[in-house]
Amino acid sequence: GAGVSQSPRYKVAKRGQDVALRCDPISGHVSLFWYQQALGQGPEFLTYFQNEAQLDKSGLPSDRFFAERPEGSVSTLKIQRTQQEDSAVYLCASSLVGRTANTEAFFGQGTRLTVV
């Protein structure tokens, strides 16, 4: 596909369960971002990869959140021992180069996580 693909689109998890969210960026895009969007709010930065290197993980809310991009393409956001406050839409974005000011970041449709 031509765009950023995320799966699953929807995930319902029981509190305490581990979840893994997948992002397939646009082919050839060097930069990959994860954002968290709470209901009725703007997206908030979680983490940034340049190829396989995680250059910034300052937005990850706790050590229960872990992201990886081992081969510099597909990325997985893992949340361990999910809590109700983790319920949100998780957005993935990719861009051709690192500086967002020079190139557009394309967003996927997101994964809506509901923790019950």
Partner: protein
């Protein structure tokens, strides 16, 4: 800490009217100011963007006005159409990180 403040939270405009959304920022290190449009169930999509050395940018019915000294910028949607009904986010960028405003839900009545 809310680095980008956006208003109003919601906006109702008649078809053909002008929609105006305002944003203010604090960090003078921001060097790129995009606006995103988001439809329900979709990810944000870039609408238009401006750099701080430009005071205005127009693309079709969409115009960004930028006031560097006041650290404010706004989106004007001319001749608003029902298909413009969506949530709009302003954002500011320093290096690679997008800092979003809280969003404005726009409804354009036929």
């Amino acid at each position: 800490q809310q680095q980008v403040k956006q208003s109003p939270q919601s906006l109702i405009v008649q078809k053909g009217g002008i929609s105006i959304i305002n944003c203010a920022y604090e960090n003078t290190a921001f060097d790129y100011f995009p606006w995103y449009q988001q439809f329900p169930g979709k990810g944000p999509a870039l609408l238009i963007a401006i750099r701080p050395d430009v005071s205005e940018k127009k693309e079709g019915r969409f115009t960004i006005s930028f006031n560097k000294s006041a650290k404010q910028f706004s989106l004007h949607i001319m001749d608003s159409q029902p298909g413009d009904s969506a949530t709009y986010f302003c954002a500011a960028v320093s290096s690679y990180k997008l800092i979003f405003g809280s969003g404005t839900r726009l409804l354009v009545r036929p």
